[in-house]
């Protein structure tokens, strides 16, 4: 027992001897901070990662500056929207309550700031970088409560068993065919809307933007709120679309995935074109008994 006590005392003495070092406290503090920061950076949403260096208030202030320069002309200096003189015409809709998700979608896909007014705002190369989009989103989100930018975890099948994944994809396919194909076509190739509008092609679009589009209903699109399509169902739709993109083209070239119109075009141009070409070739090469040309 004495031996044990002495050994324990010795251990304690050594620890306490270290603790007495003047730099020890500072070291522990630094380690703790580093750990917290790393963990935060690893688990926080991407928008927060971008602005990790600055506080929320700073980010909102930066977003406001960007907003005043790039957006306020149409959306108003406080995001209250701008109406034209004529009744019913809106130059820019109010942004109070649209949420960060709407900003991330509209600016992230390059739709905003728009190049010109028209039947539909086109997607183009984004004008702002990720930091700026995050700042704009933070500013607009500060105007009123609205849907936040979804986490990667919201639209990923990570953590599900194979069985659950397959079920999710099947469920997503049925939701897609019920709610989305009427405008976006059966494989997301897009479709026409009245007066020059269109449902854009959604093949090859980042899952985040598809999720945000469902959440916020940009332009002519309906809002699929969480009460309408639960977050899991949104995830399933995205999983189905991803599964279509990942599967091989079983039938060969897809002809744009547009349905019978492009098939008819192929039948006439390629099919009849080739057949008539061969007919010309066969009729031009008539029989002969010698090397010289013989004609009938």
């Amino acid at each position: 027992m004495r031996l044990l006590n002495r050994q324990l005392n010795g251990l304690a003495g050594r620890v306490s001897r270290h603790r007495r070092r003047p730099l020890a406290g500072l070291l522990v503090l630094l380690l703790g901070l580093l750990l917290t920061g790393t963990v935060y950076a690893a688990f926080s949403p991407s928008s927060a990662t971008a602005g990790a260096a600055e506080s929320d208030t700073e980010q909102i202030a930066k977003g406001r500056q960007l907003f005043l320069v790039g957006c306020a002309f149409c959306h108003g200096q406080n995001g209250e929207g701008v109406r034209a003189q004529r009744d019913g015409n809106i130059i820019g809709p109010p942004l109070v309550g649209v949420g960060a998700a709407a900003v991330d979608f509209q600016v992230g896909t390059g739709r905003m700031p728009m190049a010109q007014p028209g039947a539909q705002v086109k997607a183009k190369a984004p004008v702002y970088n990720a930091d700026e989009i995050a700042a704009l989103a933070a500013y607009v989100a500060s105007l009123g409560p609205g849907p936040a930018i979804p986490d990667a975890g919201d639209y990923s099948l990570e953590g599900l068993s194979d069985q659950e994944r397959e079920e999710a994809i099947v469920r997503g396919g049925q939701i897609f065919l019920t709610n989305c194909t009427a405008c976006h076509n059966f494989e997301g190739s897009g479709g026409a809307m009245p007066r020059g509008g269109y449902a854009p092609k959604i093949r090859g679009v980042e899952p985040r933007y598809i999720y945000e589009a469902m959440l916020t209903g940009p332009q002519s699109m309906d809002v699929f709120s969480n009460g309408n399509l639960s977050p899991d169902e949104k995830r399933d739709v995205i999983a189905y679309l991803q599964s279509l993109e990942n599967q091989p083209n079983y039938g060969g070239f897809g002809l744009g995935g547009l349905g019978p119109v492009s098939e008819g075009l192929a039948a006439w141009l390629l099919g009849i074109g080739a057949c008539v070409g061969f007919a010309v070739w066969i009729a031009a090469h008539t029989t002969r008994t010698s090397k010289g040309n013989v004609s009938a």
């Binding site: 039947a119 994809i169 076509n185 026409a192 039938g251 060969g252 192929a266 007919a279 009938a296």
Partner: protein, 604 residues
């Protein structure tokens, strides 16, 4: 009755001939001939002569794709389950596993993913169907543009029209069978069309669907129609079409040696058997390539049919596209009488327009024959330019068809060209009337100009490209006469005569003016005949041609005394040519009926 040719002496020399070894093929043929009398039947037919021209092979494309349809179709029936009974999919396609669907759709998926070669067969069948109808239409256009629908081939034209409409229906029933979202939408549309017919509409719909749409009987019923009824009719009509072709003999292009009483070309065996047989494999190959490389109707992406769902880009296959286009651009006219809604917006474009167009197409040869009063047989084809009004009429029908067709794809055009679907609709509403009128006028004038050009060639020769300078300093281009053969070809056509009303004579040659309705019809006929023929350019008369020749000879003699006579062939390869012949259409119309050519006299 046959003679054993293997025992006949094959020499008349002094030494007796030895019997050669019996040929096994000859022995087999002899055996068959003894029992079936094939030699007598085939003797004439295997020497049947067909003229050589690419445009005569367009109908073959349809025939061969029909054969491919039969072959692939038989394969598909071995696995397809024509039933609307519900089942749960448990096949290989992950995205639909566990979904409730009809057995028809489940078996379509099964054919696509679990039957070896099934998807290839499905795609080949569908592509062959698209080509079948398209080839029939191209063939129809060739026949009409060249005047091959005239007497004695009017009934074959009618059979061809029936084949076209039956092929279209066959395509529609096939499109509806897999019971995917697209085909179900098509059936739903058909249900709507039926219900748009006044009074009997709902009864018809309930009769066809065995109750309210969709019911449980439509797929089995369409299956019977698709694999038994229409293919049977198609086969019978294809047979009749080809028997009439053999009976009438094939038409031919005009040219030296070609008359209304003969056919110049090559015999069926061995040449046309090889050509047509080879063409079958070419068509088979084209269809197989398309089936292997190009996706058509990816049913797995559409999902099972559910009346609550629809997809953007829901179009029928192309041959049903033009009535669909008419439907899309039709204004929403409706009339309400006695509590009944008459939906003109559906009836006019879908129930009335296609029927009217089809009937018009069918009776075109008879209308033309009535206007022209032409009772002669025609085996020599007309060049499209030599029937300007007829050519223009078909081009204007084609324009109308094309515009309706484009209207059927208005949503795809809108998204691909960045247009407003509404503006396309407004444009098409006017264009389907104005476009054909413009096309008619342009084509007619174009044909007449080409006729003038032919007459220039005949009377003044072709443009040699040699510029002559006269003593006075004036410049002119030297024209050189075309060959005799070409002159013959260009003049091998009749003279158009405008019918003058009231000029009818009875059997004794006594004028017999018509009265009443007949008189009115007579006047209409006269007016139509005038529209049809009055502006045509007729071929030069014998006197004009001879005068032109004298003129050319006169010029030639004038130049004979010059220091540097200019025959006009200084800079071309005229001296190198052997025949001195400029054929009208490649080798097909050259006059040498030498080595391989055969002439088949028609038995009149």
């Amino acid at each position: 009755m046959s003679i054993d040719t293997s025992k006949v002496a094959d020499t008349n020399a002094t030494t007796p001939a030895k019997a050669s070894k019996p040929n096994p093929i000859g022995a087999a043929a002899g055996w068959a001939d003894d029992r079936l009398g094939l030699a007598t039947a085939m003797k004439k037919q295997i020497r049947k002569v067909f003229p050589d021209h690419w445009s005569f092979m367009l109908g073959e494309i349809a025939l061969w794709s029909f054969i491919v349809l039969l072959l692939t179709g038989v394969f598909l029936t071995l696995w397809f389950v024509p039933s609307m009974g519900e089942t749960t999919y448990q096949g290989s396609y992950n995205q639909l596993r566990g979904i409730e669907m009809s057995e028809a759709y489940a078996s379509s998926l099964n054919i696509s993913f679990d039957v070896r070669g099934g998807l290839l067969m499905r795609q080949m069948h569908h592509w062959a169907a698209m080509l079948f109808v398209a080839a029939m239409m191209v063939h129809l256009l060739r026949v009409f543009f060249t005047g091959a629908h005239r007497k004695p081939r009017e009934l074959n034209w009618v059979i061809g029209c029936l084949l076209l409409i039956l092929g279209t229906l066959e395509g529609f029933t096939g499109y509806s069978l897999p019971d995917d979202l697209l085909s179900g939408t098509g059936i739903r549309a058909a249900d709507g069309f039926m219900k748009a017919s006044p009074v009997i509409g709902t009864y018809m719909s309930f009769f066809v669907f065995g109750g309210e749409f969709p019911g449980e009987t439509i797929i089995p019923r369409l299956f019977t129609v698709h694999v038994l009824l229409i293919p049977g009719l198609l086969l019978a009509l294809v047979g009749a079409h080809m028997l009439l072709l053999v009976y009438h003999k094939h038409t031919q292009w005009p040219g030296p040696g070609r008359t209304e009483q003969n056919v110049v070309g090559y015999p069926l065996l061995p040449i046309y058997a090889a050509k047509a047989g080879g063409f079958f494999f070419v068509i088979f190959g084209v269809i197989a390539l398309m089936g292997a490389l190009l996706t058509i109707n990816p049913v797995w992406k559409y999902g099972p049919y559910d009346p609550s769902k629809v997809t953007a880009g829901s179009q029928p296959d192309w041959y049903m596209g033009w009535p669909d286009g008419a439907l899309r651009i039709m204004p929403g006219w409706e009339t309400h009488v006695f509590g009944v809604t008459i939906s003109w917006n559906v009836m006019l474009p879908i129930l009335i327009l296609p029927v009217v167009m089809f009937l018009l197409l069918t009776i075109l040869p008879f209308i033309e024959a009535w206007i022209t009063g032409d009772k002669r047989d025609h085996h020599i084809l007309q060049r499209p330019r030599n029937a300007p009004t007829r050519t223009a009429f078909m081009v204007s029908l084609m324009t109308m068809y094309g515009l309706f067709w484009a209207a059927g794809g208005n949503d795809i055009i809108a998204i691909k060209l960045g247009l407003s679907i509404n503006q396309i609709t407004y444009f098409m509403r006017a264009a389907v009337f104005i476009g054909p009128a413009i096309a008619f006028w342009v084509t007619r004038r174009w044909c007449i100009s080409l006729q003038r050009h032919d007459n220039d060639l005949l009377l003044h020769g072709y443009e040699s490209g040699i510029i002559m300078r006269s003593a006075e300093g004036g410049y002119s281009e030297r024209h050189l006469p075309i060959s005799e053969a070409r002159s013959y070809t260009l003049t091998a056509r009749g003279r158009d005569e405008v019918y003058v009303p009231g000029s009818g004579v009875d059997a004794n040659g006594v004028a017999s003016p018509k009265r009443g309705v007949l008189a009115v019809l007579d006047k209409v006929r006269g007016r139509l005949s005038k529209v049809m023929y009055a502006d045509n350019v007729q071929k030069p008369t014998r006197e004009e041609l001879e005068e032109a020749r004298h003129h050319a000879e006169h010029e030639h003699t004038l130049q004979a005394g010059l220091d540097h006579p200019a025959p006009g062939h200084e800079f071309d390869d005229h001296a190198l040519r052997t025949a001195g012949d400029v054929p009208l259409r490649g080798t097909a119309s050259s006059p040498s009926a030498g080595s391989g050519a055969h002439t088949d006299d028609t038995d009149q």
